[in-house]
Structures are given as structure tokens and as C-alpha cells.
Amino acid sequence: MKPMLSISGVGMTFATKRGPFCALRDIHLDVQRGEFVALIGHSGCGKSTLLNLVAGLTTPTTGILLLDDRELKGPGPDRGVVFQNHSLLPWLSCTDNVYLAVERVFGARESKAQLKARALAALELVGLSHARDKHPNEISGGMKQRVGIARALAMEPKMLLMDEPFGALDALTRAKLQDELMKIVAATGSTVMMVTHDVDEAVLLSDRIVMMTNGPAATIGEVLSVPLPPLREAPRNRLAMAHDAGYLGAREAVLEFLYRKQAHVEKEAA
């Protein structure tokens, strides 16, 4: 099958005051349609940099990224991004935050009522119909993040890119949102790339886990296929997973990689 996203030979070097800093090198990765891929690694391994490259927020110094055979040049509505700190505009209501995205993508073809309906449908998908007229400072962190997901999904992107979307939430809220995300992915069949530093989150949610080596000049260390049915077919049950051999095996493999092979050495920051 032809991959939806194809990353080949991508490297990223930033120009800093102390000379060039190589964050990523030799990244080769293909993502299939409908696949859920997690990027995991220690802090500073460039996983967010890689996601930003896919989002088009930065352009790679070497290599090429193809989405459905077209080179990625800059951000576009075909990739919906969910930021770690939700990044909602505080002066717009939840609906208007989503509407802003919808308007840009579908505004040329659809009436205002249709656009509004799209925004409301996206909020309903994340279970926030009741908060549609609230402003971001009136809702909880978990709800804000759900609005962020609704905003990304409302654009009907080819890919959903999530940068540690639940990193700033407490454990219970995080679990709840993970369950909801699984339901949404199962319902929509979205292709997702998610950055995380949480091993359980990575194994629970993804079909494949991309494990990155330590920076600087980080690259992909190993790619693990999670031996579970694809997420798009059915949401996984976290209680059943607690003693599922496939789940536990994958979890152990990731832990092995992170804490033995890539045991983080606190280096002098390069």
C-alpha cells in the first residue's frame, strides 16, 4: 500500500548563536492511511521538531516530506494540529474558535449556516455541545484540549498531528481524553501522528510506536508495531489492556528502549 505520509532523508539543523545545531538527521518514516503513530523519546530528542516539520511550521534543511505524493511546503488545512497548550484564542467562544478553522477551509463553498453547523458538529464529537458559548477561560484544561481537538478535526484534515496533547492534564482527565480520542479515531478513521513522552499512552493509542534516539542529531532508533487490532477498528479498553500479553509486551519493549538502550544521560546542553 502506498503510504499517505512519506518522510525521506529528513534532517533539521537550526542556526543558533553558538553555531549550527543539528536536531534531527536521517529520518525515514512512512505513515499509512488510517494509522495511529506515536513518536516517543526523551526530552530534547527532536520529536516535536519532527512533528513541526510535518505540520509545515518549519522546513527541513535536508530531505523531503510527501503527503499523498505532494511535497509539504508550509502549513496547510490538510493537517490539523493539536497543540500541547491548547492555543485557543481567549477572546473567542469555543464555537468561534472552531469556526475560525472551518471558515478558512470550507468558507469559499459553504454558507454561514453550514459552517456553523460544522463547528457545532465538531464540538459535539468531542462532547462539548454544552460549552459552545463559553470562552476558554471559563472551561477546564481538559475541555480546552477537547476544543483544540475539535478545531483540528473540524477542518477534516488528512492527518491529525498532536504535540503532547494531554501532557499538561492530570492523570484522570488524561485517561478520559485518551478514551475519547480512541472513540473519535475509531469513528472517523483518522490518520494520527502524536508526540508523547508517556509510554502507556503510546502503547494504548497507537498502531506503531516510533522511538527516537537521544539528541542532538537524533534519529529514529526503532519502530515498534503494537501487536493489537488497529485502533481505527475499535477503541481499546484500558482495563482489558492491563493484562493483555500484546500490550504488556509492547510496553516492555518501549521501556527497554527508553531506559536501557537510550538511558538518558544528562549532557551539557549542546
Partner: protein, 311 residues
Amino acid sequence: MVSAVFHSPRDAALLGQSSQAAATPANSRPAPLVAAPADRATPATPAAAGPARDPFDWKGLLGRVLPPVVGTALLIGIWALLTQKGGSFPTPGATFEAAWKLFSDPFYRNGPNDQGIGWNILFSLQRVGLGFGLATVVGIPLGFVIGRFATINRMVSPLISLLKPVSPLAWLPIGLLVFKAANPAAIWTIFICSIWPMVINTAVGVQKVPQDYLNVARVLNLSEWRIATRILLPAVMPYLLTGVRLSVGTAWLVIVAAEMLTGGVGIGFWVWDEWNNLNVAHIIIAIFVIGLVGLLLEWLLMAAAKRFEYA
């Protein structure tokens, strides 16, 4: 007794607390018929008054009103003491009398150089409105452009730093030269002096828009117009309003100086005119009036600013 009003058992629990709360030390205990067992459990604390029964907070009001009144009274007292022996400086009484006369007929007209104080204030406000309005129209977009485009920022920021500290009076001759009339020159002076706080604050506001919001704009691929209206403008609004407030203060400061030199009808000219008449009481009144109008302008803008606060 308040507690005597409610005596249905249904209200007993509710009453238990409220009557307790209302019971000041001077009150006798609530009627035993009404007092539910729960009532007894709550300790009798007169301080825990419910918000519904809160007596008017006279003490707080007094605390807020008394100090300013005392301060003003002190100032007038010192003024009265210092002017007791007579001299060119009028006593508070004489000043007040003059003010009374002045404000009893604020809108008379006896020729171009002798008009009521109301006209003087209005003419000054009109000049300030024009000069400040023009400064807003030019300054805010200029601030946006400077904040958004680094090259333009580098182009003009040395010029702004150079021109900002120039005294209003230095700008007046340029205005007179260019416009060949006093009134436009005064408006020009207000314009050029009140534009800087708006330009600078808007530019700083634009530069301080959180990167997250700009990333959202990039990811959503928003048009430059949408970025300006949906992201930059609301994010910059608090900075912008600070600039506007500073600007209107400057404009009101400048008008007095400008009018002293250009003449015509206006509060600044009036001060100078009264000095030529050696009417010191009127000058003192003018100082109070100028201060009051400045305060009102600032207060109006504060009220406007509150409407734009989102966080």
C-alpha cells in the same frame, strides 16, 4: 424582632442560620419555639452575617470617602492660612465666589476674545479631539505595521526615538509655517505629540502576541486580514488602549501650551488672557478645570478599556 416573622416549621432550618446570623450581641436569643436543634449546634458568631442580611457597610464607605475629603479640606485650609494676610493670591473664598460667577453663565459670548468658560473648554476639546483623532487614525495602523514587519521597525524606530522627546512647543512653528494659521497649527502639535504613545504601545503589543496564537494562524492558514482582525487586534487591544490613554493625557497637556501661543478661544488661551488681566482667581479655577477634564477623559477611556478585557 426579625425572627418572629418566620415561624412555619418548614423554614425552621433556614431560619436557624439566618436568625442566628442576625442576632447581634444586643439581641435576645431567638424564640425557643423556632430554634431547631441544628441551630444550637452552630456557634453564635455575629461576624458570620449572611450576605442577604448584610447591613449597609457604613464603615467601609466612610473609609473610602473620609480620607479624600480630609485631604481636600487640608489643602484648602493651608491655602486659606497662607492667603489670610492678603496679597495678589486670592483666598479660597474669593476663588470660589469667582468660580460661582463664572459657572453661572458658562456660554456667554462678548466678541471673539471674551467668551464663557464652557466655550473655552469645548473649543479646546474640539482641538484635542481632532488632533488626537488624527493621531489615532495614523498611529495605530503605523504601530501595527511596525510591530508586524521587522524591517520597517528597524527603519523607523530610530526616528521615533529621536522625535518622541521633542517638546510640543518645538513643533508649533512647523505647524504655523506649513498651515499658515493658528488653529491647524495647534491641532498639528497635538497630533504629533500624542501619536507616539499609540505607535509605540501598539507596536510592542503586536510584537508580544504569543507565538502560540501566531502558530494557530499559520496552521489554520489564515489570511493576513483574518490574522489582523481575529488574532492581532484582540491580542494587542490591552496594549493599544494603554497607548490611547497615554496619548489622550498628552494631548490634553499639550493643548494648554499650544493655545497659550496660538490664541483664539480655548482653555489655554483663557489662562493666558486671565494672566494678562491679572485675574489670578480665574487662573486657579482654570487649573482645577483642566485637571478635572483630563481626569474625565482618562476615566472615559478606562471605562472603554474595561469593555475590551477578555482574560
